[in-house]
């Protein structure tokens, strides 16, 4: 297997992750959003497994399995159940329209490429490309968190952001397994805490639309 082929497949998978991030931004229906998030995690675990294969680093396979198990299966299933139990209204309303959000997203991807590529000249091309795409995924996750009103889709934005962190961690060689596992578990804890908050918000305000909280605090103009 040639070097170019290895790079191309890594590029394909990392680029696919950025593409799924865009699909998350675009998707306005709740269940489709959850399924897309599961797809995001699956693409991430494939990317991590490919990195494990070409770096010859068996501990990265563990990371891939964790990503697949927790974020590809457990969290989407849990979110499905939360959405069902809370009877959350199924359409999501973005703050700005889809078009401007997409354009901002493209701008963020361009920004992360423009920032990462020049400052990482010393490292090898695989790590550079992974870091650039990871930053793009993180920024797109942040964009998703600020552009949605619904608490559940903000959670998904947060989780997809974390997927970007995992991508960055695997691109850099020599990241210890302990750190990755601890990151994965802290995300899981965060998810549980957020889940409890969701139930509380719902109980208090009868909705998970966070604008209700802004009204309550008197911040809304």
């Amino acid at each position: 297997m040639t070097e170019a082929f290895q790079f191309d497949v890594a590029h394909l998978l990392a680029g696919g992750l950025v593409l799924v991030s865009f699909m998350l931004l675009y998707q306005a229906r709740m269940y489709a959003l959850l399924n897309l998030f599961a797809l995001h995690a699956v693409v991430l675990s494939m990317s991590v497994a490919w990195q494990a294969y070409i770096q010859g680093a068996p501990h990265l396979y563990v990371t891939a399995v964790i990503a697949l198990g927790f974020k590809g299966v457990a969290i989407p299933v849990a979110l499905h159940r939360i959405v069902q139990q809370l009877h959350i209204h199924r359409a999501i309303e973005p703050v700005v329209g889809v078009g401007p959000t997409m354009l901002i997203g493209i701008g963020l991807v361009a920004l992360s490429i423009g920032v990462v590529i020049p400052v990482t000249v010393a490292t090898d091309s695989l790590a550079r490309e992974d870091l650039a795409f990871a930053l793009a995924v993180i920024l797109l996750g942040l964009l998703m968190m600020v552009s949605r009103h619904n608490a559940v889709s903000q959670v998904i934005g947060f989780m997809s952001l974390e997927n970007g962190l995992v991508l960055a961690a695997t691109g850099a060689k020599g990241m210890p397994l302990v750190i990755e596992i601890s990151v994965a578990f802290s995300i899981l804890i965060a998810f549980i805490v957020i889940g409890i908050f969701l139930f509380r918000i719902r109980e208090r305000f009868d909705t998970v639309d966070l604008r209700a909280m802004e009204d309550f605090r008197g911040e809304r103009r």
């Binding site: 170019a4 082929f5 790079f7 191309d8 497949v9 590029h11 394909l12 680029g15 696919g16 950025v18 593409l19 865009f22 675009y26 889809v98 078009g99 997409m102 493209i106 991807v109 361009a110 490429i113 590529i117 091309s125 550079r128 490309e129 650039a132 795409f133």
Partner: protein, 315 residues
């Protein structure tokens, strides 16, 4: 000399196959809906019938109204003849540039929209304004895809792109996948196929293409129908030539390769037409105001493809 011959065969081939492709898609679609459907040759019969009919022109029509069908037809025909269908060694190969094809299609669309406005009926106006709204998004998307492809192949020349795509150094590239999806979206909306426009309807609220050509009759209508068929053929052949170039005969290969190329081209058209019919039966027509989102997706895919390509290029 040989290149002129090959080009002449191609000109005739696209002209003869275009109505057949339209009839084939209609037939497959009807069969999928469990209808019997019109015979494959029905579009040819329609064209012959229209050519024999009298032309009725509105009193308020200007000279442009009479000239436009021929301009539209010739622009689309030349554009379709530039796409390598079974051989890259065409006489027009030097001019067979992706940007030229985009410009030819743009010219045809410009005249079609003008002709729609010319008579001054409200339908023509609605159709033209909608067509222009679609074009304003489809054209930049198509150009972004063209840029992605030509960055990869190192040229906007279609024969070079085809040679690159059938060569060994293509590799697995996500930009190509994004361009393919984008090109399919652009093709569907430019040809007025189902999620964007329904070619079989005459319902005022939804139609785009039919609204513009409502005033045409006789041989003028025949020219416009044939141009629409050619445009569909062009997009299918463009997608086939770029993303499935394996059977296209290249320069220096023997005569027998031309026959392989023609047979392969027929197979590609059959597969492409079948896929289009399946897609059309699977989706519903979308509201006109959602078309901008659909096409915005193609534009975004083109932009993203170029950006991702930029990363792999600089490393």
């Amino acid at each position: 000399m040989a290149t002129v011959l090959v080009q002449g065969v191609q000109l005739l081939l696209v002209l003869l196959l275009a109505p057949f492709l339209t009839g084939y898609v209609r037939k497959v679609r009807a069969r999928l809906l469990r209808h019997r459907g019109p015979p494959f040759l029905q579009p040819y019969r329609d064209l012959v019938r229209l050519l024999h009919k009298e032309v009725v022109v509105a009193e308020s029509a200007s000279r442009l109204f009479r000239v436009a069908p021929y301009l539209i037809f010739s622009a689309v025909w030349v554009a379709a003849a530039l796409v390598p269908t079974y051989a890259t060694e065409l006489a027009f190969s030097g001019a067979a540039d992706l940007i030229v094809i985009v410009a030819m299609l743009g010219t045809a669309r410009f005249f079609l929209a003008l002709a729609g406005l010319d008579v001054g009926t409200s339908f023509g106006g609605i159709g033209s304004s909608r067509e222009m709204m679609i074009a304003a998004l489809a054209e930049p998307a198509l150009l972004m895809i063209v840029f992605t492809l030509s960055l990869l192949a190192g040229s906007t020349q279609l024969s070079t792109v085809v040679a690159y795509m059938s060569g060994p150094d293509v590799g697995v590239r996500i930009s190509l996948a994004l361009s393919l999806v984008g090109l399919i979206i652009v093709g569907i909306s430019e040809c007025g196929r189902i999620p964007v426009d329904n070619p079989a309807t005459h319902l005022e609220l939804t139609m785009v293409h039919e609204a513009m050509v409502l005033e045409y009759s006789g041989r003028h209508l025949a020219m416009i129908e044939l141009a629409a068929s050619l445009k569909l053929l062009l997009y299918v052949s463009l997608i086939a030539a770029i993303f499935a170039p394996w059977t296209i005969a290249e320069a220096g290969q023997g005569v027998e390769w031309y026959f392989v190329g023609i047979a392969g081209y027929g197979a590609k058209l059959a597969v492409g037409g079948f896929a289009l019919a399946v897609f059309e039966t699977a989706v519903a027509k979308m509201r006109v105001f959602r078309v901008s989102q659909f096409l915005g997706m193609a534009l975004m895919l083109g932009l993203l493809g170029t950006l991702l390509l930029f990363v792999s290029r600089t490393l």
